[in-house]
Subunit: 287 residues, 4 copies
């Protein structure tokens, strides 16, 4: 059995003494630092860190640690989160017709690769679309949408997210653009997979755009959703080599593999508190 662990993330203006103060607070409350990653942005002079701690002999006094961190945060104008790794995040997945990302997430979740509680799948297509996928006990919500019902549908989407208690929303090839209003409500906790190597080929049919331009690599991008379409902070990207021989359909097929692995990495990193926002960019403390 893994020992109990907590993950601490923090960011603040950089000045001497932050690490000493945080590490001393952890030590005094009985915690043992297992991993620590930090980053000092030379432009913004802002400091970011992710620390995992365990507690030999269960010595950690969590409420006291929170109180101690509160005092440090006050002193350094620090934003911070402390999460018990045993408390899994609740996640809702939105999907449209193409289910390769959803299928991949389900498979990894079942295998134990993704430490999350799946509390809902929302689609604008009916359950039969995914008849070969085993959703176990995860509630499925069919919320069809047309141009004229978009407002009502989004209200339903938002209700499902809220009622399920989801902390994280994944757009797993959900082919509807979120309204500014919904995007704002989900700021910082909604991840989309875009099927191009951004900033190249924004908008619709990126594989066809890529084919027309004759690029030699195609890619996919996982990013936080913002009101500004395809402009949100990038979390992860990857590419694969293609050739003149590949038709747009070949790119779509090859792209599925890229999308699956890019989205699953971004999801895992978010579940492990590895991603911190730094303005329009992200700090990703990879393993």
């Amino acid at each position: 059995m893994p020992r109990p662990e907590h993950v601490l993330t923090l960011s603040c203006p950089n000045r001497p003494g932050i690490v000493a103060a945080v590490a001393t607070t952890i030590f005094e409350q009985g915690g043992n630092i297992r991993e620590a990653q930090q980053y000092d942005d030379v432009e913004s002079r802002r400091f970011f860190a992710r620390i995992t701690l365990d507690h030999p002999e269960n010595a950690l006094d969590v409420p006291a640690l929170r109180t101690g961190l509160e005092a440090v945060a006050e002193r350094f104008s620090m934003q911070w989160t402390l999460r018990d790794r045993a408390q899994k995040r609740k996640v809702v997945v939105l999907v449209s017709k193409f289910d390769h990302c959803l299928a991949d997430i389900l498979y990894r979740w079942r295998l134990g690769e993704l430490p999350m509680e799946l509390v809902g799948v929302i689609s604008n297509h009916p359950r039969e679309t995914y008849q070969h996928l085993d959703f176990a006990d995860v509630p499925f919500h069919h919320l069809p949408v047309t141009k004229s019902t978009k407002m009502e549908q989004e209200a339903e989407v938002w209700r499902v997210i809220r009622e399920s208690g989801a902390e994280l929303v994944i757009l797993a090839r959900y082919m509807q653009v979120l309204s500014d209003g919904l995007a704002a409500k989900l700021a910082g906790r909604c991840i989309n997979i875009h099927h191009s190597f951004l900033p190249g080929f924004k908008g619709a049919r990126p594989y066809h755009q890529a084919h027309a331009r004759g690029v030699k690599l195609i890619g996919a991008t996982a990013h936080f959703v913002t009101a500004d379409l395809d402009e949100g902070p990038i979390i992860e990207q990857d590419v694969e080599r293609i050739s003149h021989n590949d038709t747009p359909d070949d790119l779509v097929r090859q792209g599925r593999d890229i999308e699956r692995r890019v989205l699953s990495r971004a999801l895992l990193w978010q579940l492990e508190d590895r991603i911190l926002l730094n303005g329009a960019r992200t700090v990703v403390f990879r393993d």
Copy 2:
């Protein structure tokens, strides 16, 4: 000693019998097909091929082969080139202050990796800029340029290219935009290295643009030069992973490695007749 070899490239509208006609012609004139690659573009219904042939016992009758191919070309509306691999292409390299691509080309050329005759280096900076580079007997031309002398300078560039007999011009981080006129004269035989993964980050300071956007991979693109800046047919691209930790200067440093290898691959492929133009795209018959 390698046996004498010729490379044949061809393209034409696709219809049955092309391969049979070409292969039979080669066989009848004493040639032996060593490699053959072909591509049939389903959209344009255009056929492309690259064939290398050798001649056991020196049996190949080259003039007869040319006559035979001329007849086949007539029949199939075929464009073709036949090159004796022993005849090395003459190449001129243009460079500005940053010499990493030039240094790499010189090194590979000296090692025998690039089958070409280097007939000139042109720079808008003086010879001393490259004092650590050994140019052997390759003529160096210092052609400084200002906004007001651009026309005259380009006339000089063109004169050097013409008088050197260069069949291929390489812009190895030459930081001047060619005029439409010069670009037109060099159509199909001038390769540029752009320091971004096109179509992302066109224009100036692409590594700074990439840093600002927060992408997770940076890249470089080798393409044929056209009047339309950064829009020419792409020959080769590659990328490397970066992290939030990398400053724009780090990207510049890492980018040098990507640029060197992307440009040297494109150059080698052009020297080996592996690149055929297909409208705004390229067919690249890689090894």
Copy 3:
């Protein structure tokens, strides 16, 4: 609807005239060459080719083509196969407890990425092991095995393969070593995925071996099964970067992704007749 297509593969000692003879035969029987790849092994002086052909206006006379190719084969001591792409290969998959490769194959098959007829799944574990996988109508065979029953179990495995008409057998993390006898019967049509970058880390627990040696990349290898364990002709390999931070369990998890994509590529290439044996090595005509 795609037009009818055939795939021709061939190999023979290299001498002038092969391509001319084959291409002329195809042309005369009404075929149109769409793709052609060939390779001339300079060591063995052996020639390999893969040609796809279609038939505008259904003009192809297949029996006449076979007769014509037979004559060419006689003349050039050529081995060849001609396959109608509409005739899908029958495939049996063997699996043990870890089902990530099987799940991936099922998913790609359902999506239409793998042009095959799945005629059986054989496992030494019971059906319940894979309760989350939808096998559709594919017969499942539970054939448990112990040291003392191995001979009988292999006889059963062979019977299922034979009765199902399988032309291809995939060991999708089947953790039993085939006997020399069964390996011999399946020569050239049985593909295994080994969870290391061969020839490194043969044998058991390769990820633990890799961890102990401190390598910086791990990999997987798809190869044809031969009596000589982990020594069969390699079809495809791939790797991923790891770090000192990764435990053997992390390598196992990361390895699953590599194994899935390496095996699915090898399987696809076999289904598309892209793999030819060349002694202890393979010629793979990639897309």
Copy 4:
């Protein structure tokens, strides 16, 4: 101008309070932590860290910091090094006939990519072998070797290393096996580039071995030299895809590129104090 910086590396048995103690000591002596990376080996329960610090307003009291760290080291049985980044390491490079790695190191050094003082080049071939390379003022030592003079030659090699004050020795395709005695003297400060993806293809002519085995990727490995040939702790590895089409000579050519970049990365990381030994493996705190 970059601000003055120090790099601290440390390792010790893991127990609570290490980070707090080290960070507090740094803070009290006027240092500001800029980067910190750490790793806790779950098997050996050993803790490793690399910390870079700068000193706003030049407040750092280095002797006091050393005294403070000495006390912490005592308490935690900690091994540590503190290096002023302005003090460049002295490096000697050994080379044989193939100079691609040497040429690459020279070029990067001149460009400022490698923060080192090059204090000698040793070769068993004469200076003329490298006539196209500009060694600037770096002393060149021609130390030829035969089977019967190996002992004497190694004594000379050792003398040059010692007299030059070299802290680091790079075997940049030095094709002589070091004796156990010399290997022992250079333990932990001699890096070799092996032209295969270890542990595959140890020993001589690895590219020919790779070709014979039919692998689909070739690689190179940078490792610390130990008495046990090709078994030293691995620092970095990389690979490239090859095909059936590549001859052993092609692999040699392609391998040069892999060797250059693998060795230059390992060298840079060593110069930046990013590599810590962990038994037979390395901890590499990459950027």
